[in-house]
Amino acid sequence: MQAGIIKARRFGPYARLVLKAPQIAQRARPGQFVEILISGKAAPFWRRPFSICRVEKTTLELLIKVVGPGSNLLANMRSGEFVDIIGPLGRGFTLRGRGGMLLVGGGFGAAPLLFLAERLRACGRQVEVLIGGHSREDLLLRSSIKLTGASVACATEDGSYGKQGKVTDLLIERLPGRKPGWTLAASGPRPMLAAVAGIAARHEIHAEVCLEKVMACGMGICQGCVIKVGGAYQRVCKEGPVFSAQAVDWNNV
């Protein structure tokens, strides 16, 4: 499907794109993603997956970090241009329970958390978001997340903003003394997710993590994106990208 870009903003190595894509926007759930066929000089062969960061009635927003040729081309697109997009894909966060939720995001992993925070707040649930990054510039979507009514705390490794250290340090600080019913959701780099899983296990709190894996099809047909979950291979693009943290075999992702 062709989707028109109606807003495009570039900042540092990041870009935010708003796309007109009613069919996707209407069905999307937090944690789901889209696959984009990128064209241009040195365009990659496969589509590229990006989390849905927010939806309005007929539009959806993406947060792109430039890490290679595909993301670079995409991040430089301008409003008025079109992208070839498929979605929504995968299984999002379950939103199970009614209690409060702690969301932990690292780098562009914050993207699905904005969408998640919005949905949770719309159900009237309490939301606390912990955002981490190398330095201030990598603390993404802070103000957008605050606007949902969630509380936000930050950590940077270089100490340029918020607590100095890792976002998981923040989590360890904040976790004790939570009422039962609170759950965790996390999205970000693999080591951060593994750490979150460990912390959740120690605190016996339900946690869901949004994983990433190189994807050839993104639609569950190639079996190229599997990880070990509960002892068997599962597809990140189909059974995931959101998994229960406890079920994931962290030595095999």
Partner: protein
């Protein structure tokens, strides 16, 4: 200019299709994964991923690597096994409004035969396709599909066990594709699928190791199209059973090239990953081309480019 609709239907060794475009094995799952992405009523059929006797978990990760105009895969024949296939997958697949073929793999002749016997006569199966790119555990890992004698005796043995139309899918990693094609035909194959993937590799220059855990994998996508087309041309000239062309087909123009070279039908593989509408668009484009050429049907086009 011919005003009537050109006939697209083909008969591929007993498999009758409304049009000559199928989805290739391993690139359309069990079909149902693509509901919502592919309009099955507009394509000819689909071939299941390779089915083995026992369920297979597949290879360790990473299993795929991106390449220029293509990709490598070393999925390792991950599949549910023939019993679950018949019990759970096939009942869903036969609801899809197109022909369904099962692709069969194994690592001993007995395994192939058991799978084929299990599949024989199942309702909703239009035919079988044999994937012979599997290493033969008995013969030191040599693939069944790379030695004409081995291939011939396996196909002959299977031929006796089923009344289903039998397609044999050839591997391109050989010196003499014609010898293999003839061996398959002589052994009773009803049609030949040409071709499977080219054996390839990629290195990770950061980690300094092969990208695929399996070291090597199969190259597919537009990169391999010229090789597939050459093999289709060679094979179609050497056998008298139908040839189904596969390898790098993304558009109607690609499909037409294969049909001109002698293919009676085509399969779309990797293209579905980038554009799930590829197969349907190929059908539409083929119809338009036939109309514009004043041809009454696809049969007029088959082999029309041969010299």
């Amino acid at each position: 200019m011919n005003r009537t609709r050109p006939a697209l239907n083909v008969n591929l060794g007993g498999v009758k299709l409304r049009n000559p475009v199928l989805l290739a094995s391993g690139t359309c799952g069990y079909g149902t994964e693509l509901l919502g992405q592919v309009r099955f009523q507009s394509i000819g059929g689909l071939v299941s991923k390779s089915i083995t006797l026992q369920p297979k978990p597949g290879n360790p990760m990473p299993r795929v690597a991106e390449c220029s105009s293509g990709m490598l895969n070393a999925i390792g024949l991950e599949n549910v096994g023939v019993r679950t296939f018949c019990g759970e997958k096939l009942p869903e697949m036969r609801k899809l409004p197109c022909a369904i073929l099962a692709n069969v793999a194994g690592s001993t002749p007995e395994e192939y035969i058991e799978v084929v016997e299990y599949l024989d006569g199942r309702r909703g199966l239009a035919g079988l396709e044999l994937n012979l790119s599997c290493p033969n555990v008995r013969r030191g890992g040599m693939e069944f599909g790379r030695e004409p004698g081995l291939l011939g005796s396996l196909v002959a043995a299977i031929r006796r066990r089923t009344r289903l139309p039998l397609w044999v899918k050839l591997t391109p990693n050989v010196t003499d594709i014609i010898a293999l094609a003839r061996a398959a035909e002589d052994a009773g194959a009803d049609a030949l699928t040409v071709m499977n993937t080219l054996l390839g590799m990629r290195m990770d220059i950061q980690q300094r190791c092969p990208i695929l855990a399996n070291l090597t994998g199969g190259l597919s996508g537009p990169a391999i199209k010229p090789v597939a087309l050459r093999m289709v041309y060679q094979v179609a000239g050497a056998v008298s059973i139908p040839v189904i062309g596969v390898g790098g087909i993304e558009t109607a123009e690609d499909a037409i090239e294969f049909i001109l070279a002698g293919a009676s039908a085509v399969q779309i593989g990797t293209a579905t990953f980038r554009n799930p509408g590829s197969a349907e668009q190929a059908v539409q484009g083929l119809a338009a081309y036939l109309r514009q050429s004043g041809m009454t049907g696809v049969n007029e086009l088959i082999g029309a480019g041969r010299k």
